[in-house]
Symmetry: C2
Subunit: 227 residues, 2 copies
């Protein structure tokens, strides 16, 4: 979902300042939530001026973006274990999705603030935006690994599109998760537990005669709709 926040090369000193601002933001986000962590408070915590914080991060949302990048990195790392342990599609998909819920749990409180970016089309932070291409494709690649390492048999047309479709599924789960106020996001975990086997069964049904025709149409629709 996230985009890269300024990947230009920088001096070590500047990079240090930049990191200290991120760290300060992290601490305040964690301790007091998004609203409490004002730009003034973040700047003070980092030992810089407000204007200086804006020199490195063009908005408070870009600061949240840096936060989100860490979640993505942690999720990629946490996904390695289920991808190594599980061999069937069901287990692999479930493992990766639950890993995300685990990794993201500490950030649930202010995830909504970040999610605002997802809906603003003009924002470079939107998961569908040009600027997010790299991060999005990394996430899609993760889903391709889920499929490729599994026992799943698919028609070729669907196999090519499925990683992106699974990424969309994940976006849907994130949407549910953002709205999930249950303790430890238990309901989201239930959703993953229950829906993954259904997805698995549905995908195996796609080779059924009578179903295959519809699947071909869906693949055709995706091709037509893609930019």
């Amino acid at each position: 979902m996230a985009t890269v926040t300024d990947p230009a090369p920088r001096s070590s000193k500047a990079e240090q300042t930049r990191q200290s601002i991120i760290d300060a933001a992290m601490r305040l986000f964690r301790s007091g939530g998004y609203d409490q962590a004002t730009m003034r408070a973040i700047a003070e915590e980092a030992g810089v001026s407000v204007g200086n914080a804006y020199y490195y991060f063009s908005s408070k949302e870009h600061l949240v973006q840096a936060y989100y990048d860490r979640i993505q990195a942690a999720h990629a790392e946490a996904s390695e274990q289920p991808l190594a342990d599980e061999t069937d599609f069901n287990g692999r998909l479930r493992g990766v999705l639950l890993a995300w819920v685990d990794v993201a749990e500490p950030y649930h409180e202010f995830a909504g603030k970040f999610f605002k970016n997802a809906a603003e089309p003009s924002s470079p932070l939107s998961p569908f935006s040009e600027d997010s291409t790299a991060a999005r494709e990394a996430a899609i690649e993760l889903h391709r690994r889920i499929i490729d390492g599994s026992d799943l048999k698919l028609a070729k047309g669907l196999r090519d599109e499925l990683p992106e479709l699974l990424w969309l599924l994940q976006m849907g789960i994130v949407l549910f998760w953002v709205h999930d106020t249950s303790e430890g996001q238990r309901r989201t975990r239930d959703l993953v537990d229950q829906s993954v086997p259904i997805i698995d069964r549905m995908l195996r049904l796609t080779r059924l005669p009578g179903v295959r025709g519809v699947v071909d149409d869906v693949v055709g629709l995706i091709h037509m709709i893609r930019p």
Copy 2:
């Protein structure tokens, strides 16, 4: 998406003031978009003080709700024709969805700003929020009419849940629409044209042996996940 903003009985004078604030907001939203329409500008345009505007609308977002309500009302009205003309499910669903694209077209330009705020779970503008319950249920009811007036044959469990599922489909189309920069949102119209027949075919497949079991699981999942 939004709900009715405060349906309590009021004196005619107060109701008049209330309406003049809404009207002023509409004019400014239309002419200059969301950001230009500041609460100060809206209050001045309505001939009241800022504090008075807040007496009637507890936040700027609640004011936007009134805006949403008008789109929704216009859509409900525009849906009557296809619901009267079309008899098959395919035509009814297509007619209602395209009616939405038609009705919403004038607002596409600043829809992104609106939806950005609506995407935040804590926002009253969120289509999933408590405040939006009335509007959401009206929209779901519209989809129930699509089904009930059509020739579609469904298993009972699915029939009960389908209106809400179709509403979710509509939310997905709205998401696509928000990101759609093509002239007159042609791509969204194409999406509707192409996807509705596929949905139709998929629903008719649900009675196929081998598919029905999965459908039952999906219905069970929905029951488990609903609050």
